[in-house]
């Protein structure tokens, strides 16, 4: 197709939002759409990955993008040789990231098959052992991260540095700790992808087979056959529920409702039986409150363990529900029985030969699926949570040293600039002069903050240029739900007939009042029975799913969090609408049809 008649605009013709001039300097050169390579970039289809990055990056936060993309690519391209798929190329435009999967040239696909079979086959054959080993590796990295400690440079080096003939100073420790934190983050992202695409591939194989047997089967039914009921992603929520029940049992309700979190914890500790509850609270906190209310990709993410008011708010909600006689624990036995029922009923409708194939593919899908679900807790929640905490500590230290004015301003610098600041700090300390950065960064940070704010006010375009005839890249389909159909929806979503289309992610029809949320900080605004409308949800939002009527998201594939949790809670969900959160406003009455994937504004 002619570039003039592209379905989506060219990156080079997209306007810079008002007040965001100079935004490119916030991000590394390799993420820019470069005019020197315009022809190539215009001939490529780019889709906005607003599922993982729904808001513009602060400069430091591109670390997660860089490392994630690198990790994803290396396994496809260099470790496993996934026959049709290399990595995913990326660009940043107006603060949002655009992805383009890199296909393997058709003539090279066949040649990669033998190596892929040997390498991927090894993983599938030894999944249990390799996964156990993976957990050990990741836990070791988390431990190392946790041990990282940034300390202010001393006025005078300790005497034993001199008498011991050390010959080095405290700056080495500072650089070493920073470099180590970055290295840990890099390694963690590589581990993140070690199993992931293999897990998706096995799931896709099962999915495709079942679809072939039953072309009309809802995606959610296939997901239900594979999903676990005891995923570690549910643990944080389950722990809060258990604590809520225990508080009621021990007669601590009043104490829990006392003032701030600290007040309440003090009241509980002072109450009879309070120590028992406090012990359970402390046990639950680490590791389970290493749980972000975002997705782990942003320095702005709030982790429960650093913001105990978040889990405490959920705790108070749950206590109210327990006192109202509600059963809040997930009915895992029932969910498991339901999973078995669904599986066997579809299976019975197949002929004998198909049943044998079904058993094989289902078996593998169930072996790999716990990784697909659980890695998220280990990496995004626990490991990245620890990383961000350490970075915040460093930001605070450098703030105290006068490099900037707000505790978390460091995130307006990229990771290499932060290392420059450490150098500035170290060298000026050594020379015995004033730091140079203290005169540079506060103003520069304000400039960047204004640009970032301007970028945040404009929603990204869903895609750039022309899509290929058909989307064939398997992981694009699995991860982002980007199919040829989805793209058609984006294109047609402008022709407004009062209803929005998305994926029928969890069944049911519900009418109710919309509550549009753009950030997890607003979760408390949700009222019982309201319909949650949001760009994207995160696993830690689970506690609010007990009180909403339905969920609608802009972005999300068949395995998106909102879809998984809604199925679990039996709520209708429509995901991947493209723009529901900008078209709908809080207070509108909606009908959410999770059977057909439509959202209708009623008045």
């Amino acid at each position: 197709m002619d570039a003039q008649k592209s379905l989506f605009p060219s990156a080079f013709e997209v306007e810079t939002p008002k007040g965001a001039d100079g935004w490119k300097d916030l991000y590394p050169y390799y993420t820019h759409f470069n005019p020197n390579r315009r022809e190539q970039d215009d001939n490529t289809f780019w889709f906005c990955n607003s599922q993982h990055w729904p808001t513009p990056f602060r400069p430091f936060d591109t670390i997660m993008l860089d490392f994630a993309i690198k990790g994803l690519g290396q396994y496809n391209t260099r470790h496993l040789l996934v026959p049709p798929a290399n990595g995913v190329d990326y660009r940043i435009l107006n603060g949002y990231v655009y992805f383009s999967p890199v296909a393997v040239a058709p003539e090279q696909i066949e040649g990669r098959v033998p190596q892929f079979m040997e390498r991927a086959g090894h993983y599938f054959m030894n999944w249990g052992d390799l996964y156990a080993n993976w957990k050990e590796k990741v836990l070791a990295k988390i431990k190392e991260l946790d041990a990282i400690n940034f300390t202010t440079l001393p006025d005078v080096e300790a005497l034993d540095v001199v008498t011991g003939g050390v010959g080095l100073d405290s700056t080495n420790q500072l650089f070493d700790q920073y470099d180590k934190a970055i290295e840990m983050c890099y390694k963690i992202w590589q581990y993140h992808f070690e199993f992931l695409n293999l897990g998706y591939a096995a799931y896709l194989d099962f999915f495709g087979f079942v679809k072939e047997q039953f072309p009309s089967i809802p995606d959610q039914a296939i997901a239900k056959m594979v999903q676990g009921v005891d995923s570690e992603l549910f643990r944080p929520d389950d722990e809060i529920k258990k604590l809520a029940k225990l508080a009621v049992e021990l007669g601590l309700v009043q104490a829990v409702h006392t003032g701030s979190v600290d007040d309440a914890l003090a009241a509980i500790a002072a109450a009879p039986n309070g120590d028992k509850w406090i012990a359970q609270w402390n046990a639950a906190k680490d590791p389970w409150f290493n749980f972000t209310s975002g997705n782990g990709f942003y320095s702005t993410d709030k982790y429960w363990i650093d913001h105990l008011d978040i889990p405490f708010g959920y705790l108070r909600d749950y206590i109210e529900r327990v006192e109202a006689g509600e059963e809040i624990m997930r009915p895992t036995a029932k969910l498991l029985a339901e999973r078995d029922r669904i599986t066997s009923e579809y299976r019975e409708m197949m002929d004998d030969e198909a049943q044998a194939v079904f058993d094989g593919k289902l078996g593998l899908a169930r072996v790999v699926f716990p990784y697909v679900e659980d890695h998220n807790f280990y990496i995004e929640h626990w490991a990245l949570g620890t990383f961000w905490r350490k970075m915040r500590e460093l930001s605070q230290l450098l703030c105290d040293e006068g490099f900037w004015n707000n505790a978390d301003d460091m995130f307006f610098l990229n990771r290499n600039e932060v290392r420059d600041v450490l150098w500035d700090y170290s060298s000026s300390w050594a020379i015995g002069v004033a730091k140079r950065g203290t005169d540079v960064w506060p103003a520069e940070i304000e400039r960047r903050r204004a640009i970032h704010l301007a970028l945040s006010k404009v929603r990204p375009l869903p895609a750039l240029n022309n899509p290929p005839e058909v989307i064939t890249e398997p992981f694009t389909i699995m991860l982002w739900g980007i199919t040829s159909e989805a793209i058609e929806r984006w294109v047609s979503s402008d022709s407004d007939d009062g209803s929005l289309r998305g994926m029928a992610a969890a069944p049911g029809i519900v009418e109710g009042v919309a509550r549009v949320l753009s950030s997890p900080d607003q979760l408390r605004e949700l009222q019982k029975g309201e319909i949650l409308v949001t760009p994207v949800t995160a696993p830690s939002w689970a506690p609010v799913f007990g009180k909403i009527g339905a969920a609608v998201t802009d972005i999300g594939g068949m395995m998106s969090h909102a879809a998984i949790v809604c199925r679990e809670y039996g709520l209708p969900a429509v995901t991947g609408t493209g723009n529901a959160s900008s078209k709908i406003t809080t207070g509108m009455r909606l009908r959410v049809d999770g059977n057909n994937g439509t959202v209708t504004v009623l008045d």
Binding site: P83, L204, D205, K211, A221, E348, T472, P474, I477, N595
Partner: protein, 353 residues
């Protein structure tokens, strides 16, 4: 041992030959604990006794001698005479006594449906609408006895006779059973298929439903409401509400079912609640599981029964069209193991258009 009457709850699998398909299915459902209106089968033994008693067999043979199966007029004439002969003879005393006793046991002057229940040698598609006699809302022992005999006579419709002539099936070997079943007072009734009759999709249950007795739906007199339910997830996927202009209801005084025009808002009202749709779907699903093949189920919701217990199965028979196609389908080969995964990656489902 011959037995003229078998209650639905005492029909065993060895009796299937002498109660016909319809009653066998009712017997099986009853014994499996499916809610079915109670009743009994007048067995083929009773019919055989009738033939024997009056030497009707010889009489039938005589009427059919020299009939040319291609000459519809001659077949028609012979068939008519035979039906008249069967109707004009009294039943053997013991058969009539057994029917009256069984009917009396159902309750005082109980309205019943009297239906012929064909045996295997009969017309293959005879169970389809209108081919064999069904008498609804029959009351009183005399009427029941008469209608049983009418059903026997329906073995000799012109079409049935000509079919057997053409296929060289000896007429005398074909026997008839009759079912007598408590009349359902249907608020709503219809048919449920455990596959999509249009596509053969086995993950779907398709329900047709209309007000009153289900015969209006079966015979196509009324355009029913239509519901599509996902079989495994038990979710209503689609509903089409039609203009249902007429219903068949029992007329107690006349002792028969009468067509009545629907003039009120019920015409365009959905005739099943969501809970009822799902209950019908679960019933059909249960019957499919029990019979191990896709089913075509007739059902009704009885106004006299309490909610939750008011859904009754009236009949269940195997779906034939798609089940046959399925058998004729060529075997597909599947890729398994690593080859399956490679194939999936190279040709992901999303890329198929």
């Amino acid at each position: 041992m011959t037995k003229n009457i078998l209650n639905f709850n005492e029909i065993s699998s060895s009796d299937h030959g002498r109660v016909g398909g319809k009653c066998a299915s009712l017997g099986e459902m009853t014994q499996a604990g499916v809610a079915v209106p109670p009743g009994f089968a007048v067995t083929t033994d009773a019919y055989a006794a009738m033939l024997e008693c009056h030497d009707l067999g010889a009489e039938i043979e005589r009427h059919l001698q020299g009939v040319d199966p291609d000459d519809l007029a001659s077949v028609d004439k012979a068939a008519q005479s035979i039906r008249q002969r069967i109707r004009s003879h009294a039943m053997p005393k013991d058969v009539e006594y057994d029917i009256r006793t069984a009917y009396a046991a159902m309750g005082d002057n109980m309205p019943v449906a009297v239906r012929s229940s064909a045996t295997a040698e009969d017309l293959p598609d005879a169970s389809f609408a209108g081919q064999q006699d069904t008498y609804l809302w029959v009351r009183g022992a005399d009427a029941v006895v008469n209608h049983v005999r009418d059903c026997w006579a329906s073995l000799y419709t012109t079409r049935a006779v000509s079919y057997r002539e053409k296929n060289k099936i000896p007429h005398i070997d074909v026997l008839m059973s009759v079912g007598v079943q408590k009349m359902v007072k249907a608020k709503t009734a219809g048919v449920a298929m455990t596959l999509d009759p249009v596509t053969g999709d086995r993950t779907r249950i398709v329900i047709d439903a209309s007000w009153g007795l289900g015969e209006m739906v079966v015979s196509g007199v009324v355009t029913p409401d239509n519901f599509v339910v996902e079989k495994v997830l038990e979710e209503i996927l689609d509903r089409t509400i039609s203009d249902k202009h007429v219903e068949l209801v029992g007329d107690e005084a006349a002792g028969q079912a009468v067509e009545r025009e629907i003039t009120d808002e019920r015409r365009t009202q959905c005739c099943l609640s969501d809970a009822e749709i799902l209950a019908v779907a679960r019933l059909a699903k249960r019957l499919e599981k029990q019979n191990k093949c896709p089913q075509d189920v007739e059902w009704a919701i009885d106004t006299d029964l309490p909610e939750g217990e008011n859904l009754l199965a009236l009949q269940s028979r195997p779906e034939t069209i798609w089940s046959q196609k399925e058998k004729d389908k060529p075997k597909t080969s599947y890729m398994t193991g690593m080859m399956g995964i490679v194939n999936t990656l190279n040709n992901p489902f999303g890329s198929k258009t």
